[in-house]
Symmetry: C2
Subunit: 250 residues, 2 copies
DNA sequence: CGACACTTTGAAGACGATCAACGCCGGTGG
DNA sequence: CCACCGGCGTTGATCGTCTTCAAAGTGTCG
């Protein structure tokens, strides 16, 4: 049983949507709470996949290394996000990346078998699982598209937009939640490129000084970012931005 | 009912694996056979997703256009491959790309609802569907990884390897099955880059003259292609190559 | 033969990676 | 209190790769 209080973000996790409070509690009882120190490895690339993880608080970095020594950050996970559900239907149950804690991080881990069993018992959970996998696949597609078609500046701008939304920051002024090296790695570019790019963004609607970010022209940035992306209609960022803009004005 | 003879490739389609002959026949009866002319559009980017498709013969190009006019080929489908199963669990049932026939192409189309109904009736089909979606997601990941980390030459070499395997060509000599423009677009590079790259591949184990390809040093090419890829352990191409090498020697 | 689609080749340019040097800052130890 | 250090970020110069623009070559089909 988790021996820590689960923040409400867990209960609003899309994976548990549609389940009753009681069901959720019962489910979560199957998990084990763990605390990771800064820099601690949760699992390594190539390890067998044994668990499904739920991040409660803190930050987790997923990264991989290619033979020539290059390191690529595949994802940065924060509280409320999940990890490992995609591997359920994979043939080879091998971790596709390393997972390491960027800071002190609380997670709850569930044995993979437990997830499978419960997916069979709770059709709703099974459906959520599918939706989640499908969504991740979709996101991966979009990300690939972005990496191919967008310039470094567009990638950075897009990242800042999404970060602002994900963390619920005020676009008019917020601090970068991660180190610049980490962000650069996440965006698949060198730290130098990232650094230089930040300066150039001022011409496009985002001002960055040190770790402080101000998105002062949301419309311009959005047009700039989306101008070379071919999947605009269902871009989640765009929708959220519209939403936010509405909320702040209304 | 399909009014054409279905080649045996259809029956060996992974989606129908584990189903009895009778079940397969019953399923396929729900489809409508169609023939597409060279250049004919099957559906356009943004259209509502209405059907699931099975390519019988010919070649289908999936491509998308970004606002700045750039065209990217997402996939080239040949006989035996399927199209549209991924969209089942998607929230927005909108085609993510255009589909056009490169040459005269035979397809069988099934209403999406039909697929859903049958997935509920046949657990095996449902499972196959999931596996298919999961696999496509996995492939997309690998492809994204490739696009990011590999040079044009490596991408081309990798493509030639995979093409050789997919079409069951003899590595020692085969003709390119598609136009160079199409291949370049599929690899996300300009025709000029592709053209120039072909020449340079001779140093790495592949000789190309006109449309004729000779993979004369499979080991060298494989090392060259995989040297900067971080997901080597479960690379399907690598496994198939080993297999083929064994078969030809044994 | 000429029109046209497809491909090749050349030259210039843009972009990001790489290498190198430096600035900034927090911590540690004398 | 200061000196030193290491982690992190910035800035400059250079280089390789791919794109872009332009021109010419190859082939097929009427």
């Amino acid at each position: 049983m988790p021996n820590i209080a689960l923040p409400k973000t867990v209960k609003s996790q899309p994976l548990f949507k549609g389940l009753s409070e009681a069901e959720q509690d019962a489910l979560l009882r199957g998990g084990r709470s763990r605390q990771l120190e800064r820099g601690q490895l949760l699992f390594a690339h190539g390890d067998p996949v044994t668990h499904f993880y739920l991040v409660i608080s803190g930050t987790l970095q997923l990264f991989r290394q290619s033979p020539d020594g290059h390191e690529k950050t595949l994802a940065i996970l924060i509280g409320g996000q999940t990890l490992g559900e995609t591997e359920i239907f994979e043939v080879s149950k091998i971790q596709p990346a390393n997972a390491v804690a960027i800071e002190i991080t609380h997670i709850v881990e569930f044995p993979l078998q437990w997830l499978l069993d419960n997916a069979q018992k709770h059709p709703v959970l099974a459906l959520n699982l599918l939706a989640s996998i499908s969504e991740q696949a979709h996101d991966a597609q979009i990300e690939a598209e972005h990496q191919c078609n967008m310039s470094a500046a567009q990638l950075v701008a897009c990242f800042l937009q999404r970060t602002c939304i994900l963390h619920n920051f005020d676009p008019r002024g917020f601090e970068l939640p991660y180190s610049k090296s980490l962000i650069a790695s996440r965006l698949g570019m060198e730290l130098e490129t990232f650094s230089r790019t930040l300066g150039k963004l001022r011409e496009h609607g985002i001002a960055v000084t040190g770790t402080h970010v101000t998105i002062y022209d949301m419309q311009q940035i959005e047009d700039y970012v989306c101008s070379s992306c071919s999947i605009v209609e269902d871009c989640p960022t765009r929708q959220k931005l519209v939403e936010i803009a509405g909320r702040r004005q209304g």
